[in-house]
């Protein structure tokens, strides 16, 4: 176990940033902490790094207790969203920093430092930039310098705070795949914080979803997406529609759809359904409605359907372009929708 935290609590004044967090990250894993802003994910990362002190709880790194260890002694690599490169130093000096500040007797000789920095520069493919200053580099290049700098001390644990948050979509996609390859090649343990579900689902071995200072769910990306453990996770990860439902006497009724059996106490519930799980048909049975908008998004088509008997937002259904051509629905068409698969949650569990 490379990272373990037990019973971590942190408040900022009245605001509870972390309610009670337990988290283990196995050696060699790449784990994403996913959550909306203000959910406490960055605070958790900073506590693990030693940049913030928890009010309660313990932190273990490499199996050893690190709760009271100062940040300098934790030997974790930390990468900030805005890179935090030393702006007055060259790229070379930035990467060499961690080695040159070591106490004299532990410091490697200058030639060894040079060799190490050159090795890292080639690892992040920036050999040509050694003598440049951070301001002369693009965002993606800067983030790679920040990574190289963090890796110079060969940390066993790498912590990344929204590492690609400030980059363009395309650059971030490229960089996160590159980070995954780097992670696999160097065998460190990585924990990264993100609010971008795409990023978390795409590169992480495991995803931890946080909400209001608590861990909502932890699982593989597939688990998180396919079997969300709570209404919050279902709504936050992927896109979704929400419909009111009612359970009475073991039967669930969703609008005019035929009731289905659903064991449990009588309650008003919320049905959360992903757009690709909304089926549209020209004939019933189903919940009648009218197509109000059709949007082509690359290979997919989104169809908005305003349901009868509801003044709520239209339901969004998603198709592949091919299927959409066969069905050929247009704005204004009367249609019937059915729900292929959905999650059932308490309605006030709103995000």
């Amino acid at each position: 176990m490379s990272i373990a935290v037990h019973g971590i609590k942190k408040r900022f004044g009245e605001f509870v940033a972390l309610a009670d967090i337990d988290l283990d990250v196995a050696t060699g894993q790449l784990v994403a902490i996913l959550g909306p802003s203000g959910c406490g994910k960055t605070t958790l990362l900073r506590i693990i790094a030693g940049l913030e002190t928890p009010d309660a709880g313990r932190v273990f790194l490499q199996g050893r207790e690190a709760t009271d260890l100062p940040v300098q002694k934790r030997r974790v690599g930390f990468v900030f969203q805005n890179y935090a490169l030393f702006r007055h130093m060259t790229v070379f000096d930035n990467i060499a920093f961690g080695l040159t500040v070591r106490p004299r007797r532990e410091r490697p000789p200058a030639a060894a430092i040079r060799a190490k920095v050159e090795e890292l520069l080639s690892l992040v493919q920036l050999e040509w930039a050694a003598e440049r200053r951070p301001l002369q580099l693009s965002g993606g290049q800067r983030q790679r310098v920040a990574l190289a700098r963090a890796l110079a001390l060969e940390p066993q644990v790498l912590l990344l705070d929204e590492p690609f948050g400030a980059l363009d979509t395309q650059v971030r996609q490229e960089l996160r795949r590159w980070l995954r390859r780097l992670h696999d090649a160097l065998h460190f343990t990585s924990l990264f914080v993100t609010h971008d579900q795409q990023e978390a689902l795409e590169v992480a071995d495991a995803v931890v979803v946080m909400h209001r200072g608590r861990i909502e769910q932890r699982g593989s990306p597939e688990e998180i997406y396919d079997r969300p453990g709570s209404g919050f996770v279902h709504r936050f990860v992927g896109s979704s529609n929400e419909l009111p439902a009612e359970r009475r006497g073991g039967e669930l009724t969703i609008g005019p759809l035929p009731p289905t059996s659903s064991p449990g106490p009588d309650a008003r519930l919320a049905v959360v359904v992903r757009p690709q799980d909304v089926a549209i048909g020209r004939t019933g049975p189903g919940w009648p409605g009218r197509v109000v908008a059709v949007r082509v998004v690359g290979p997919l088509v989104h169809v908005d359907v305003a349901l009868e008997g509801g003044n709520r937002d239209p339901v969004v259904a998603e198709f592949e372009r091919e299927r959409f051509r066969r069905e050929s629905v247009a704005v204004g068409d009367p249609v019937f929708i059915n729900l292929v698969r959905y999650g059932l949650y308490a309605p006030d569990e709103a995000a």
Binding site: A49, G50, L51, P70, V71, Q72, R74, R75, V76, G77, F78, F80, N82, A84, L85, F86, R87, H88, M89, F97, G98, V101, R102, V124, Q125, L126, W128, A129, R132, R133, L135, Q136, L137, S138, G139, G140, Q141, R144, A146, R149, A150, A152, L153, L167, D168, Q170, V171, E174, L175, W178
Partner: protein, 298 residues
């Protein structure tokens, strides 16, 4: 950038060159003229007059006024005071700016307000506060007298008053700068194993060096030029507790205008040096900016 054709009535793309409208010539020249007249009348003219008066009776008289023993004593005292007050406020200013910019604590806004206090009160009052504290009938007066320590009407009093009056200068220069730079670089340095001192010397100090230098320049100019507070605590003992501004006043009151302006020209020169140094620093400050070069990865 992709090529996007603007439809009619659409806003110009960012960075697009707009055909320049002829500027309203009259308003512009009026404003510039007004500003220039103002500058000449209130800044440049007095400056010229200082030097004109100083040199009115030739270089020899000018030189004699400067090497007069009393003048030399005043210059030496002014330099001594600045030499003590400026380093003190340098340390204090960096510490205060550091605390305000990089930490959250109770009473932070009160501290920021307090830093401004010397600017808010008249220098004469600052001086009087010291008389009330350290004067013969002040709070610490009897104790100081019993231990034979002279603060009032002596160099320590002048230094104290100068420190008080000039202490916001460095801090005020640094606080916004350090606030805008944030804490990330320092935290990164710590996470890379640097000690607090290494972080300060290798990361913080280089980032604030231009602001710090400018703050020190201003602090120095004010320390050498301070009149009001120093006047109250100095006692005007010629050759002992007279700084340059006080010496100038005495000479002037004695109708020795040439000598007064000769010494004054030194202070005016100091102002000039400060301004030139400032311009030079500002040219240095924006770091080299060049376009990112293409690399194999974004």
């Amino acid at each position: 950038m992709s090529i996007v054709r603007d439809g009619p009535g659409s806003a110009p793309a960012p960075g697009a060159v707009r055909p320049r409208r002829p500027v309203r010539g009259l308003a512009r020249s009026l404003l510039i003229t007004a500003a220039l007249i103002y500058l000449v009348l209130f800044l440049i003219l007095p400056f010229v007059i200082v030097f004109g008066q100083a040199l009115a009776h030739g270089l020899a008289t000018y030189w004699a006024a400067l090497v007069d023993p009393m003048a030399v004593a005043a210059i030496r005292l002014t330099l001594t005071v600045a030499l003590v007050a400026v380093p003190l406020n340098l340390v204090f200013g960096v510490a205060a700016a550091w605390a305000v910019a990089k930490y959250e604590f109770r009473g932070k806004s009160a501290l920021v307000t307090l830093i401004d206090l010397p600017f808010a009160v008249s220098p004469v009052i600052s001086g009087l506060i010291y008389v009330l504290l350290f004067g013969a009938h002040g709070w610490f007066g009897p104790w100081l007298a019993a231990h034979d320590i002279k603060v009032m009407f002596a160099v320590p009093g002048i230094v104290l008053a100068t420190v008080f009056v000039t202490f916001p200068l460095v801090a005020r220069e640094l606080i916004p700068l350090m606030q805008s730079q944030g804490r990330d670089e320092e935290e990164t340095a710590l996470s890379l194993g640097a000690t607090g001192w290494q972080t300060f010397v290798r990361v913080t100090l280089p980032n604030i060096r231009f602001g710090l230098l400018y703050g020190v320049l201003l602090c120095n100019a004010r320390a050498m030029g301070e009149f009001g507070a120093v006047s109250v605590v100095s006692g005007h003992i010629r050759g002992l507790t007279n700084t340059m501004p006080l010496h100038i006043e005495i000479l002037y009151n004695e109708y020795n205008a040439t000598a007064a302006f000769a010494v004054a020209s030194l202070l005016a020169l100091l102002a000039l040096v400060t301004l030139v140094a400032r311009a030079a620093l500002e040219r240095q400050a924006p770091e080299l900016r060049r376009k990112p070069l293409p690399g194999p990865l974004p």
